[in-house]
């Protein structure tokens, strides 16, 4: 009986030790992950800018429309992704930009991309810019050229105003005579 109790207490001790080891390992793992914590869900630009210190140096997922130009700089390139609130600069390997076809401007809606990369509140490589160094890129939605339809209301207003202007000019000529 006494022997049985002893073996049970030893087993309990071993279990506790294992549990401690697991908790400590998990704690260490969390500490190690702290530098490269991955946020799997896309984070908004507003959240990134307003909580820049919290996200600094961590891997984030961000998505937005490519606007303006793809600016190639040697083996890398800059793109700017706009998520309908703000645009954030993305520094990425040149190869990753190959799939980008449409850049957002007056005549086109740009490709909508999701990127994953390291967020910098004040990037040491780029003079303190708030940016993301992308590691991977995925096109969520392809951009599309914007077809411009002539606004007939505006055209009609132009004709009416031209008539008024002509009338005013003729009247002023008559008045002068």
């Amino acid at each position: 009986m006494i022997y049985k109790r002893k073996t049970q207490s030893v087993k309990r001790k071993v279990k506790m030790q294992n549990l401690k080891f697991l908790v400590l390992s998990f704690g260490f793992a969390l500490c190690a992950l702290n530098f490269t914590l991955i946020y799997a869900q896309p984070i908004s630009s507003t959240d990134l800018i307003n909580n820049a210190k919290e996200y600094d140096g961590k891997i984030v997922v961000y998505e937005g429309e490519v606007i303006g130009d793809v600016m190639v700089r040697g083996e890398y390139a800059w793109i700017n992704l706009h998520d309908n609130k703000n645009a954030i600069g993305i520094w990425l390997p040149r190869d990753l930009t190959k799939g980008i076809i449409y850049m957002g401007n007056y005549k086109a809606g740009g490709d909508w991309l999701e990127i994953s990369g390291i967020f910098h509140r004040a990037c040491p490589e780029h003079g303190g810019d708030l940016d993301i160094h992308a590691q991977s890129l995925r096109k969520i939605k392809s951009g599309i050229p914007t077809a411009e339809k002539l606004d007939l209301d505006k055209r009609n207003l132009i004709i009416v105003l031209a008539g008024v202007l002509l009338l005013a000019w003729i009247l002023s000529l008559l008045k002068r005579r």
């Binding site: 645009a87 003079g127 505006k154």
Partner: protein, 500 residues
């Protein structure tokens, strides 16, 4: 006793206002050409509607108020203040028609911000705005920086004796050449030469930065117009941060400083008198105030630890500071970063820089360096009077193109305008606090609006209260005209109501 204005007074004001409005109408031809050339037909339509309305308004005033009388001082000032309001209302039409501004008030806010070379903006989805409208946004900065009246003086008004009265009313104290029309033309010459050089420099940098050549040169022209005229609009929503380029930032710093220098000084440099740069009270004051305000800003930034490396601190801190001091408003950080990452001390450094401004007879707003220099010299004179024996005759002089003895009249005028600016900054800050914004944020945004800078810490947005939008519009208008024309208009309105 206040005299009620005679109908002939009103006619003279209306007639010259009409001429200036006609001048404004002609400037709308540029975006129309751009619209058709780039295949942006609806934007071109917006400008055709606007040019027609502007011509109708101008012709109506000229015909209804035809007079051969010349302007007196009061009328000249009133014409100028009304011309700026008319420019705002008419210049806002194409912006509103584009659909990128939520209301006509928002479009008017941006039009005033553009003409007054401020740079605060309420535009929606700027990154999809047409080239035509974008060109207009920057062109109005170029026009406003030179002076709306200067356009009329340069191209549409010949041999006008009242020209100088309007020229002074537009916050230009100094004639560069004996004739005010030649002075206006010289200002245009300087600006056009720099426009070509600046556009080429920024365009080439843009191409080397990986932009498409057309975009690079279009952006170059827009950025030059807004930088030289210390405006602060940019073709993309990220402002200068969009380019991610140190050379681009360096070139814009040079252009901003050129814009902050007195046109009279430009004239002397162009005619070979380069020593004037080192002797002039304005350049000396500008150098000293930049150093002092940068020291305050850098202390604040190192206090908050916003930028761990010295080079980063220099690049970010110095850029925002120069941008604020010259009254440009270009940013390489997001507005929220001022609040979240910069310490109060750093923000105070930038607020001081914004409040001081550049040189008189330049495109900057704010108190300006000549006044700062004069006030400093007057203070020095008074201290000397106290320290030195009573019999000593104390005379203070300063160098501004020539040696000038400081008199009480100059010191009084400088102090009066300085006090007016300080009052305007304070009133805007109170308005901001009234709507619930913190003190420092309110003071920052108010100073930015009244000093025609354009740096923002995030208050200026489409969702801000309507009354605050109107407050900032009034601040931009009064700040750009340096009060006198605005006071003259207010006096005129009082005379209409209460005069006998």
């Amino acid at each position: 006793m206040i005299l009620k204005p005679h109908i002939e007074d009103i006619k003279a004001i209306g007639y010259y206002l009409g001429k200036i409005i006609l001048g404004l109408a002609f400037t709308m031809l540029i975006p129309i050409i751009m619209g058709f050339a780039s295949g942006e037909f609806n934007p071109a339509f917006d400008f055709i509607i606007s040019i027609e309305l502007t011509f109708i308004a101008g012709l109506f005033l000229i015909k209804a108020c035809f007079t051969e009388r010349d302007l007196d001082w009061m009328q000249g000032m009133i014409v100028v203040s009304l011309a700026w309001l008319a420019a705002m209302f008419l210049g806002a039409i194409p912006l509103y028609l584009s659909g990128h501004w939520k209301s006509y008030l928002d479009a008017s806010f941006d039009a005033m911000s553009g003409f007054a070379t401020t740079g605060l903006t309420l535009v929606n989805d700027l990154d999809h705005l047409s080239l035509t409208h974008n060109l207009w946004r920057h062109l109005i900065m170029f026009i406003g920086g030179q002076g709306i009246v200067i356009i009329a003086l340069s191209f549409f008004v010949k041999g006008l004796a009242g020209a100088f009265k309007m020229y002074v009313g537009e916050a230009r104290d100094e004639r560069i050449l004996p004739n005010v029309i030649n002075t206006s033309r010289f200002i245009w010459l300087v600006s056009i030469v720099y426009l070509v050089l600046g556009t080429v420099a920024l365009g080439i940098t843009g191409v080397l930065n990986g932009m498409k050549p057309f975009n690079a040169f279009f952006h170059g022209a827009c950025i030059f117009m807004a930088a030289f005229d210390t405006g602060g609009f940019a073709p993309q929503s990220q402002n200068i941060l969009y380019y991610h380029s140190l050379p681009f930032e360096v070139i814009t710093i040079v252009i901003m400083i050129l814009g902050a220098i007195n046109f009279k000084l430009h004239y002397h440099i162009w005619t070979g008198n380069r020593k004037e740069i080192f002797k002039n009270i304005e350049t000396r004051a500008l150098f000293i105030t930049i150093m002092v305000t940068f020291f305050i800003t850098a202390m604040g930034l190192s206090q908050s630890g916003a930028y761990p490396a010295a080079l980063m601190l220099l690049r970010k801190g110095f850029y925002q500071l120069i941008s604020g001091h010259t009254g440009t408003g270009y940013q390489t950080i997001y507005p929220q970063q001022f609040i979240n990452e910069w310490s109060n001390l750093a923000m105070v450094g930038v607020i001081c820089a914004m409040a001081l401004g550049g040189a008189v007879c330049s495109t900057t707003g704010a108190i300006k360096m000549l006044r700062v220099g004069i006030i400093f010299k007057a203070l020095l004179e008074d201290i000397k009077r106290i320290i030195l024996p009573e019999r000593t005759i104390v005379m203070q002089k300063f160098h501004h193109i020539k040696e000038i003895f400081l008199d009480d009249k100059q010191a009084r005028a400088a102090l009066l305008i300085t006090l007016s600016y300080l009052g305007l900054y304070g009133l805007g800050a109170i308005a901001g606090m009234f709507f619930g914004y913190p003190f420092l944020n309110s003071l920052f945004e108010s100073t930015s609006a009244a000093a025609n800078v354009g740096l923002s810490c995030g208050i200026t947005s489409v969702t801000m209260p309507v009354a605050l939008k109107i407050t900032y519009i009034i601040q931009m208008w009064a700040g750009r005209l340096e009060f006198m024309s605005v006071f003259a208009l207010l006096g005129f309105l009082v005379a209409i109501v209460r005069g006998k």
